[in-house]
């Protein structure tokens, strides 16, 4: 894979851009993908549209948090220097904030505000999980085999403590046999 040769100036710009996006990434880094697209594809032309889309798709299919699509974008833009710029940029602000927030919250965990916050947000969190799962079924809805996999997964995982790994392997097998 050939990378664009970026100077220090461009690398710093990339880092600064992801630094800002980090603080806007409420609901996960994927929420800022449209803006990353604007910066690296439209504005600077470091990646093509297809390269950008496949960067996101690979990270979704691979193990690990979806955030890692940021590393793939950095890699495709400028190799290891690019990975360093995008990953440090996206991580430093949100990491610092998460630690500050948890320390603030655990000192006041019995306070009325913190208890109201965690109990009030709990049903919102569960609603979001349902919505995320539902949106993820989108590509499967046209295939009986794929919807079968969704249903089997929900039943098995909700009723047992079997490791999700087994179902992922089942999904890969059923898919590779062409039944999805």
């Amino acid at each position: 894979m050939s990378h664009a040769i970026l100077g220090w100036h461009d690398l710093f710009g990339l880092f600064a851009q992801f630094l800002v996006l980090s603080l806007l990434a409420v609901g996960g880094a994927i929420a800022t993908a449209p803006d990353m697209h604007r910066y690296v594809v439209v504005e600077h032309g470091w990646l093509s549209d297809a390269q950008f889309t496949s960067s996101v798709a690979i990270a979704q299919a691979a193990p690990g948090p979806n955030l890692l699509f940021v590393a793939v974008i950095g890699w495709n833009v400028a190799g290891f220097a690019g990975v360093t710029a995008t990953m440090l940029g996206i991580l430093i602000p949100s990491t610092t904030l998460a630690i500050a927030a948890t320390r603030w919250g655990s000192q006041r965990r019995e306070s009325r505000f913190v208890r109201a916050f965690t109990s009030g947000m709990a049903p919102v969190t569960l609603g979001l999980l349902l919505a995320t799962g539902y949106v993820l079924t989108e590509p499967s809805r046209t295939s009986l085999g794929a919807m079968g996999l969704v249903v089997v997964t929900v039943l098995v995982i909700a009723r047992t403590r079997l490791s999700p790994m087994w179902l992922v392997a089942l999904g890969a097998l059923v898919g590779a046999l062409g039944w999805t």
């Binding site: 609901g27 690979i58 999980l129 996999l149």
Partner: protein, 226 residues
């Protein structure tokens, strides 16, 4: 493996603001105390060292295809017993409203509560470092094999399973709402409203969290003050 009852974490001694070390810590892992929960039940176990945080988060991250959340629930609640289901929902709720990925925020918060900065960095490195090398390797391979039908099919099948995993996690965590001060009916209404707005109507997340989230938190504030 058909146990649908409370997880081991939830069978822990209940309703005690401070955990009793002898009761709560699992055998030979005394250094870090299990987390107390405002809703009563305590975690039955705690990570023994930053190294153990690294190992567990590395393992769950490498097993997390198409999202780490379901496997994180499996490992942190069901296997390690570091969190009860209620504590898991609580950390997730906080991780959700902060910028950054919710699972990464959870790792940071759990690590920080047990071992401060060292714990947070160990958990963060665990969840990111090795998986990042794997993803970059796959990115290099993808260009070569993306045209093979079996590979494309396997990815589709794994995608279907990962959707099912997220839905099942929601089903598994739903019983934690039973003890919520909002009451069951209000909890169900809020969860369904969020599902409809995001899943069916595709409204922007930020406005839902700000709007429905603050209404729900406001109502909880009022209920807790009565």
């Amino acid at each position: 493996m058909s146990d649908n009852g409370p997880s081991p974490a939830e069978r822990a001694p209940a309703c005690r603001p401070e955990p009793l070390d002898g009761l709560a810590a699992g055998g030979s892992k005394p250094p870090s105390r299990p987390l107390p929960s405002p809703q009563g039940a305590e975690a039955i176990n705690a990570p023994a060292s930053p190294r153990e945080l690294f190992v567990v988060f590395n393992r769950l991250s490498l097993q997390g295809f198409g999202g780490v959340l379901p496997i994180a629930q499996h490992h942190l609640v069901e296997r390690e017993g570091w969190l009860t289901r209620a504590q898991f929902v609580e950390l997730l709720s906080i991780g959700q409203v902060l910028p950054g990925p919710n699972v990464v925020n959870m790792a940071l918060m759990l690590g920080d509560r047990h071992f401060g900065w060292r714990g947070a960095l160990a958990a963060l490195a665990g969840i990111l470092l090795v998986p990042m090398l794997v993803v970059l390797t796959l990115a290099a391979l993808y260009a070569r094999y993306s045209g093979v039908p079996a590979v494309a099919g396997a990815l589709r099948g794994m995608g279907a399973v990962s959707a099912g995993l997220v839905l099942a996690t929601a089903v598994k965590l739903a019983p934690t709402l039973k003890t919520n001060p909002l009451g069951r009916a209000v909890c169900a209404a809020v969860a369904l409203a969020v599902f409809g707005a995001i899943g069916l109507l595709h409204w922007p997340l930020v406005w839902i969290v700000l709007g429905l989230g603050s209404a729900s938190v406001g109502y909880a504030w009022w209920r807790l003050g009565r």
